[in-house]
Symmetry: C2
Subunit: 340 residues, 2 copies
């Protein structure tokens, strides 16, 4: 009886220690990849870096570290997954996509940590903590900035032409899962992008895969192109790939599908894909997926409306039912054998 009581106390103690908490072995970050570029022939500048600081002469010529990727990781003391899960963001955004949602509720980083995965969240080249470089000297094009209106329409949160500065005058898509009262908070996550850095971004992602994997990749939107290419280059390191509303991919007509037959892939789609430019995006991804399956690969698809789940936007991981969507991913990954 005493033995039983104390054993229960022991179990209770252990549960109380973890409980709803995460037992974390380590948190940290790193930059990976990139190169050094040397500039010359530019004029000197005088700068006062902060009020009261002395004038400093700065010579902008010389060596610069550019085109690295930044990643932050959280490692559990006892992960249930065999492989870490990497969350790759989309265009005009950074790793913040997967952190706390704009409505203040836990995002997918938190979900997958609590589901037992070690989680890596990165900022790709040119975004966030990965930093950006002088243009046109180093980056060859110019940056694009996303106005709120574009995010409202392109991400299928609101109707085309439905954005207004005044939040109460905005027209959202009927039944949207996006918490539209937090749309302005979401807009703060926007980060300028280039359309000329794909080779550098791919190189940094490849270096990232080499450093962290074997792994599972969950990739969103523009990131798709980089993830499919990394899977092609490292089919033994990418143990599964979840393509969340991927907007980019290598050319479906020339992709070497046979090389990625060992990499199970899942495409996940939200609702209202009949709105431009999504039919073309979806068709191209479906072509890629069906050619993969035809070549003997695993190319599964979850279109949420087919499961009766309606109203999901392009930003599934911020929608009110983001946990429900993450659970579908976790279940699919579990079926691929990534959990212990």
């Amino acid at each position: 009886m005493l033995k039983k009581t104390l054993a229960l106390a022991l179990l209770g103690g252990l549960a109380g220690c973890a409980g709803n908490n995460l037992v974390v072995a380590d948190v940290g970050s790193f930059h990976v990849g990139g190169r050094t570029v040397t500039l010359s022939g530019l004029p000197e500048k005088e700068i006062v870096y902060s009020p009261g600081a002395p004038v400093v002469k700065v010579n902008p010529n010389g060596d610069y570290a550019v085109e690295a990727l930044y990643a932050r990781y959280t490692l559990l003391a006892s992960p249930k997954a065999r492989y870490p899960l990497m969350l790759w963001h989309g265009g005009g955004l950074a790793g913040t996509t997967f952190e706390t949602k704009p409505d203040g509720k836990p995002g997918w980083e938190s979900y997958f940590l609590r589901a037992g995965y070690n989680v890596y969240v990165n900022d790709a080249v040119e975004r966030g903590r990965a930093s950006w470089a002088r243009y046109p000297e180093i980056f060859k094009g110019e940056p694009f900035f996303r106005p709120k209106k574009e995010a409202w329409e392109l991400f299928r949160i609101g109707e085309t032409g439905g954005y207004a500065s005044n939040p109460s005058a905005r027209k959202s898509i009927a039944g949207t899962q996006f918490p539209i009262e937090y749309f302005d908070q979401f807009a703060k996550q926007a980060i300028p992008r280039w359309s000329t850095n794909d080779a550098a971004t791919q190189a940094a992602y490849d270096a990232y895969v080499e450093k962290v994997c074997p792994c599972v990749i969950v990739v969103h939107s523009q990131g798709g192109n980089f993830a499919f290419n990394s899977a092609l280059k490292y089919p033994d390191k990418v143990k599964a790939l979840v393509a969340v509303e991927t907007s980019g991919s290598p050319d479906p007509d020339t992709f070497d599908y046979a090389k990625v037959k060992s990499v199970p892939m899942l495409w996940l789609w939200g609702d209202n894909l009949d709105k431009a430019p999504w039919p073309a995006v979806f068709a191209r991804q479906e072509k890629f997926r069906t050619l993969l399956v035809k070549a003997g690969g695993i190319g599964d698809r979850i279109a949420l409306p087919e499961l009766g789940v309606r109203g999901n936007t392009h930003m599934l991981m911020m929608d009110r039912n983001s946990d429900q969507v993450a659970e579908l991913i976790d279940r699919w990954l579990t079926r691929q054998g990534v959990k212990r």
Copy 2:
């Protein structure tokens, strides 16, 4: 005997659960502050956002979310400190300053978490995940990019003129604590900066303090100006301020020291402050500090060489003895009563 054995097992179980691990109640992030700016009169552009994606017409006119601050937090299940500790970075850098060091070893974020503080690490306006805005339409100046040579010299890692592209040809300051073999890795953390965003940055920091504090602020370099101003505005919310090699501050001749008498402050300095431009920086900070003390405030100073600790650079939190420096801060904070 059985009772004792099981009690020991219980204790052992609890210790094993935490052990060297962190028991974390929550991780997350947010953007705070900022404003909406509306642009008009700019021409439309056609963009292909990623290979294979359709051409999208982008109208750059409209509303933009700008000038917010980004912060990431880790909250412990049982913090030992009464207040969260905020780590504010310096110029041309972001919150990465305090994460894993360039040599791969744990940085100050990790140190203070393990010392029992809830820790917040932010990216100020224009940096990292806080993002940046079009210039000259929104940001009024142009960005500056830090060449490796400037970091090598200005941060007192190497001698003036001692930088070379070839790592083995670089001249470091004798006895430096900076792990110079990882200098190129450190250079990847550099982030473009403006000298025209101080008002916006201050506003965002103030919003951050309003959201998170009461708190303790540990601020580095350029961040000093913002932290002293926030302490002036919120003396009841800032429970202690540690100024780590602060290079900026409000005008010492006009600052209202009486208002911050309740905010204990500590200035912390590394070695080799005789190198330009540091004598002027140090003199101005010392003027600020001594006027604070004269007005009845607490303005302590730790100059590491006076304790026999030599070779520390401007990047104390990345130096080999970063734990030793953090321990001095933790001890000082403990003396100010911030631990339970």
